[in-house]
Amino acid sequence: MFDMTLTLDIDKPSEKKPVVVQTIILAAGLALLVLAPLFFYPVFLMKLLCFALFACAFNLLLGYTGLLSFGHAAFFGGAAYFTAHAVKEWGLPPELGILVGVAGAAFLGAIIGFLAIRRQGIYFAMITLALAQMFYFFCLQAEFTKGEDGIQSVPRGHLFGFIDLSQSTNMYYFVLGVFIIGVAIIWRIIHSPFGMILKSIRENETRAVSLGYSVRNYKLAAFVMSAALTGLAGGIKALVFQFATLTDVSWQMSGEVILMTLLGGIGTLIGPLFGAGLVVTLQNYLATSEFPVTIITGLVFMVCVLLFRRGIVGEFYNSRLGRKLGFEHRH
């Protein structure tokens, strides 16, 4: 459904030699992430990882199922609320709190998805947007979300009862762990028989139906998976910032994650990571400057759509160097 001139295929090496190169790149990337807190402000890094995971989860839906959801903030922010509430009010340990967030997001995803997959393309986008906005208003008025104030001072607690997460280094490695697990799950889903069917549905839905695939169920399953993984990101974000607020359920947040994905490269596994990195850095940089973030965000959006639809990673894959390294893609 989504434009097919994009880099659709997966980060899949086509030859033997590039595998080595790619493994080296992957290892280097991991090493970088492990060492990063020595050089950067850990809270910033954690924020980056949360959003990167969010964008990857979102990309599972957009890049690999062709569904543009304009309402993913509902799952991200919703999970943040659920986790925050579970940890703060019920006193659950962080790992269980996050599970509550994931389950809540999946549940929300099932409801919103059930309604939205009745329509396709642009309608789907608008419906998810509207339903997420409805959830936003729900959060605005529900008791447990504490309205505009949000759920504040959420305790980070002790992981498995003994790792003190209020230490920011501990928290960082916890977040990193969750991030890696999340991305690994996404990778597995994409490169699975199920992922293959998702791809075929995106390519030609009617044909998939005539081959006997219940397209709605597959779409819904992908939607719920994406929502659950988004919930994972939202849950850890609530712990990192000890906060759950309306910002995370607002439609601007849904827009932001689209931007991250678009900027990084739709349909590339690691693109969203770069997109998120760029957007988060930009926001951090501009947060204390005069210039409104929205103007820059808006302009980046326009430029991306007009000129770099493949996104950073997508453009790289298609560049000469990228091809040499075996990242070549059709189209």
Binding site: F194, G195, S210
Partner: protein, 260 residues
Amino acid sequence: MTAALSEQNGAPRVVLSARGLRRDFGGFTAVNNVNLDVHHARVHALIGPNGAGKTTVFNLLTKFLQPTGGTITLLGEDITRMAPDKVARMGLVRSFQISAVFPHMSVLDNVRVALQRPNGLATQFWKPMSALDGLTAKADQLIRSVGLDKERNSVAADLSYGRKRVLEIATTLALDPKVLLLDEPMAGMGHEDVGMVAEIIREVALERAVLMVEHNLSVVSTLCHHVTVLQRGEILAEGDYANVSADPRVRTAYMGTEEA
């Protein structure tokens, strides 16, 4: 059950049947009171002038459209209100009038996607892609049988129109359907492909029921055991090709005065 019984009696059994099928679009009745029996191991042609309702009948039978009236039975089960994917899983598979492939997948993958479902490899989101390797041999065999070996690894979008139609037939066969519905399978095909596809159809019909819409009368005459002629949504004539083509009403409504 009943179907199996009838076969023992020697007569080819009815696998798909429609009774009193009707479909309205607004005030317009596109299909009216159509009774149709499709038999195992036979090729059944549905012909008729443009706009007679052939594609609509296909859509009704495969549940892509809901009938306004009438019933449809597949292998003894009433499928009148069933969802299209469910019907496909029961073994009723169709091709489309306008070619339907997965354009950005290779020919091999197109076929493998079709093979996944009958082999129970569709929902496993936790398994690696290599789980599908077992399907490759079967897929290659299908590809070879329709003569697409050379294009095995090309992207479907790069194929010519006719080759796409051939690929579509291959994916359809991958499901090993019990009933095959083909909407103008030869349309847009070069002469070289028509004969081959006809041969494929003849072969698959040995153990399956085939219902096809086709305007190429030479194909119809050589391939089909039974012909139903539709006109204005209603059945005008039925029988084998010789009888039907001799019917003066059919000649005026469809074939014209001379053989085209």
